[in-house]
Symmetry: C2
Subunit: 629 residues, 2 copies
């Protein structure tokens, strides 16, 4: 029903004198619309009107006079969205860029401030869309921050001081942070160090704050037998067998005492950033792109998002130049999930001159999806199951795409290929795929499908990625990728090349990757025992997953020993790199070697300079022991 609205022109505007938004039409004659300044207090209706009228009055450029514009959901266009790696949401937008072509939105330095569950830019089934010279922020954030102001070792409690920016109340011993259109508990949480404006050193010793404890066995419900495979990571099943662990009490206005935390007490002065419950807290990415060819963002700042800075699905040729995810207003946190994320994209994905800082998840993640064969429905047809609840409704490709069939316990590479003819999405979890060819005889329920055509080439250049929770880059594309001249300062791996199928169902393995000219400054400082660059699969076998990886001319300034973890890799070159001990933090794992190798072959290490403190350079399951720098 919401869809019908798009056919109708919204009319009726207040007319005034200040604040100019220009819509340049296709004939290059600028339509200028003047707004009362009061419009900038909620620009939603005025902007939405132009997008809803696009078919009758198309335009190629929308220009905002420099200023601050607010957008509220109350008069926005609503739609129910499955968004990959987000929760399914009913969202509101003032910029429904759906089935549109050749539009540039130029903020001329404006700041757009959003309120509540909105997706600032919803770009679907479009071509050649550009955003430039604008900043995206939210009036009230989807996360909350509080300073650790006291600890009591004897009682193992700590106190946090919550500023007026983050209103809260305490119900049954749990803090709820109250927003205009939303509320959240502590839920997922981490420490920031305000002196470094980055994730606190060794945060894993202190966080996440222990939200839940398991129920005693006697208190649990009789298990229910499900007819079909059930997802115990998704609600409501994820709520089973657990209850709140923490006890919180207000000891003074804004000051809350937290008891029953099971990790170490966090250091006084640190900032606790909390974003609420997984499966409820990824609801408002700043930019959502799907089924779109040609997107660019230029001088765009994302100061906040209730989810990712940018999530692109099934799209092609995306360029982010001077796209910056950075906090505003003295906040520690920028986006509450990844800065950028690309699923099933193709063509070229480019990030250059970007700052991706302080977000609560990875700087970039590029991958496809694995979909699981559930039913063989005929000669050329299968019923598939979406594995992760944040991929519901995801379409694996388009007609003509080559899909690979995999048995991951046998190989990370397909045993057969099929040409996609049709996708029928019956529901978020279940789809029927029809192929041009007959199914191979050895196809069976449980096999995985991936789209071999839906991986992009990747360039990440001159970017500053760090001060965030989690990784810098997760790269799962077999296409040619270059990571050049970047600076990393991440609390987990700076670069992670994964293959995993059992939890996230994110497909693809790096097969042609050059990592060069980068500086890795004190990464992996969260307390986890991992390399700065890590190649790893979650399937415990010796099969090759990664190929042709070159790490050359990089500088690693690292406080600890472990630099590289190489697993399941064929042809890996590590050359002309410089490794220094930074002395920034105390070593956490002094017994570690510099490089760990398992199930890998054709490794080359040459011309590297090592100035670290490790006493062992290599730890390997076989021939690696003979390797030298």
């Amino acid at each position: 029903m919401v869809k019908e609205t798009r056919r109708v022109l919204l009319i009726g505007l207040a007319i005034g004198s200040l604040g100019i938004i220009s819509f340049l039409n296709v004939g290059q004659i600028s339509r200028k619309i003047q707004f009362d300044t009061s419009i900038s207090k909620d620009a939603t209706a005025a902007v939405l009107q132009q997008f809803l009228a696009y078919d009758e009055k198309p335009f190629t450029k929308v220009t905002f006079e420099k200023g601050t514009y607010h957008f509220y959901p109350d008069k926005g266009l609503e739609s129910f969205c499955h968004i990959s790696n987000h929760d399914d949401v009913l969202i509101s937008t003032a910029f429904p860029i759906t089935n549109k072509k050749n539009i540039t939105i130029d903020g001329q330095g404006s700041t757009f401030i959003f309120h509540g569950r909105m997706v600032p830019f919803l770009i679907e089934h479009s071509e050649y869309i550009s955003l430039q010279n604008l900043s995206i922020d939210w009036a009230q954030t989807f996360h909350s921050e509080a300073e650790v102001v006291a600890i009591d070792e004897a009682n193992h409690t700590f106190d946090i001081q919550i500023s007026d920016e983050y209103p809260y109340e305490i119900r049954n011993g749990q803090v709820y942070f109250i927003k205009e259109y939303y509320e959240h508990t502590i839920g997922q949480s981490i420490l920031y160090d305000p002196m470094r404006n980055a994730i606190a050193f060794d945060t894993e010793s202190y966080t996440p704050v222990t939200s839940y404890t398991k129920l005693p066995v006697a208190q649990r419900a009789t298990p229910i037998i499900h007819k079909y495979k059930a997802d115990h990571n998704a609600p409501p099943l994820k709520q089973l067998n657990r209850e709140w662990q923490l006890e919180m009490t207000e000891v003074a206005p804004g000051r809350v005492r937290i008891a029953n935390h099971k990790k170490k007490l966090p250091p006084v002065g640190m900032i606790l950033a909390a974003k609420g419950e997984q499966s409820q807290n990824r609801i408002a990415p700043a930019i959502r792109i799907t089924h779109t060819v040609g997107f660019s963002a230029n001088q765009v700042n994302v100061h906040h998002a209730g989810g990712m800075g940018l999530i692109a699905e099934n799209s092609e040729n995306l360029t982010l130049d001077n796209f910056n995810v950075i906090p505003s207003n003295g906040r520690m946190v920028s986006a509450t999930a990844d800065a950028t994320h690309f699923v099933g994209c193709r063509g070229q994905v480019t990030l250059k001159n970007c700052t991706l800082n302080n977000q609560l998840d990875d700087g970039l993640n590029v991958h496809g999806t694995y979909q699981e064969v559930m039913d063989v429905l005929g000669d050329r047809q299968v019923g598939i199951r979406i594995g992760h609840y944040q991929q519901l409704g995801f379409e694996i490709g388009r007609p003509g795409d080559q899909l690979g069939l995999l048995k991951l316990d046998e190989s990370f590479f397909p045993y057969a290929q099929l040409t996609l003819e049709n996708i029928e999405v019956l529901n978020g979890r279940y789809q029927i795929l029809t192929f041009k060819e007959k199914l191979p005889e050895d196809l069976e329920s449980g096999d995985l499908l991936e789209n071999l055509d839906a991986y992009p080439e990747l360039l990440v250049e001159n970017c500053d990625i760090g001060s965030n929770r989690a990784r810098g880059l997760l790269i799962s594309t077999p296409k040619k990728s270059v990571v050049r001249n970047n600076k990393f300062h991440t609390e987990m791996e700076a670069i992670l090349l994964p293959v995993e199928s059992s939890h996230w169902y994110e497909s693809g393995s790096a097969s042609s990757l050059l990592i060069t000219g980068n500086t890795f400054q004190d990464c992996t400082h969260s307390g986890q025992n991992r390399g700065v660059i890590r190649l790893v699969t979650d399937d415990d076998n010796e099969n090759v997953a990664f190929k042709n990886i070159t790490v050359t001319h990089n500088t690693f300034n690292q406080f600890d020993n472990l630099i590289l973890e190489i697993n399941n890799t064929e042809k890996f070159e590590f050359s002309e790199n410089e490794i220094n001990n930074s002395g920034t933090f105390p070593q956490l794992f002094p017994e570690n070697p510099v490089v760990k190798v398992r199930s890998s072959s054709q490794l080359v290490f040459e011309n590297n300079i090592y100035r670290g403190r490790a006493t062992t350079l290599f730890e390997s399951d076989e021939e690696g022991a003979g390797l030298t720098f």
Copy 2:
């Protein structure tokens, strides 16, 4: 994206020998499809296939061989639905009866058992759809039942025994009832009396069980200023300033002790029926009809629904004959909300020979909607706000309909009329309405709109309505209505004629209603001080709301005094009725008169027989004192 699926034919079936579903095509040649009995274990895919292929292979009749068929959501067709008087839901169905014509579905006595969040029959934008000879039930209910087995007056606790049919666990002192695809707390609750198989006498003294208490002021969040009118009845705002009140502990397997209840301890032997939180528990009505002309149900039993038995919106000419909402499997509860509910319907609505028993809300509710003028957008256009969160997305009418404009504090009847030209649904709460005529000059923000054309004539005949929570019939249509030869046994009013705007935004007032030949057996036994038949507005003024109401030749067997409450009424006749004291329950309000009258005129009382115990017949604000039976 889900919409696209309907274009595609689902193929591939297991072939077997037992269980026959026939699809009779338009040419009257029956297509018979044979199913393996295993298909009856999940008939969803097989049935859905036929509906998805309807455009290529239309049919007029679907016949099920008598049997039991299960339907699971896992392979159903999913869509996001705004359903009036329900929560907005992502639902799954095997019967997507959308844009279809002339279809009869004949179960031949079959039982269809649903699992989880499904809408068994989703009927949208269709014509002449019939259901017959089938029963709808759920494997696991959306509510839970437990027997009160002990009370402890000293500690003011009571114990309930929960059977294996209702698995549960206790988290932080709260019981959660666990289902296949759902869970709920105690939330909304009421007592049933298993000896009477009906709501317990005086349940208001014991229930609802006290789920919440207000937070101490100091513990509450600083109030947030909302730019637009905010709905404090809807989540997340409704969650503010309250916390769990009850403390529950398991004292033996299946036996849970409940402390902190603020009402009287419920009598041992009663059944506590609990359905969880308002705003989360109306998600799976048995039959949903919208924008449909011509619907009939014949010999259809609804044994359960996670919401209403039947909810019809914006539809025309609906006949329920032998449509029965009755519990199965020894359960106390049938549907967890109203048995039947009609919003913005027109033409004729008929219920005959129906049993509407044991549901957790009204037997029937017929009304329109009030929508609030929020913005005047131009000469002929307004922005409206939907008042209640369970009416989101509701469309007030269709082009050409006469809408009335109201200022309810001045009159219950419109001060002007406008012809609807177009509705643009921007989001669930906000729509833009365009009219053929210019807006009247006295129209202002806050005025209400109702659709004067979208009220039906109503006939309720030979029905048995009762043993349910709440009312029998709520009638808010000004069109000719007849309530004849029914039997009522309801815990609140048997017949309520309301006008209210401030909470439910349900429009319409009865203006031509005949109530005749009915038996009212011990209604209003909940403990509330109300009449068996009650005419009332929630606006405190003396304006006329109701007209031409005749109550004649009925029998009232009532344990207490109060029979009639008449407010804001013009022309009311009460004649040839018989009132007996039943002696079934103790009197709760012995001081009451038989009839209460306020702000009403042209009342006729004649030829009634009174055999009750009241010492006062009338209590009136003016001339009523002179009235006689």
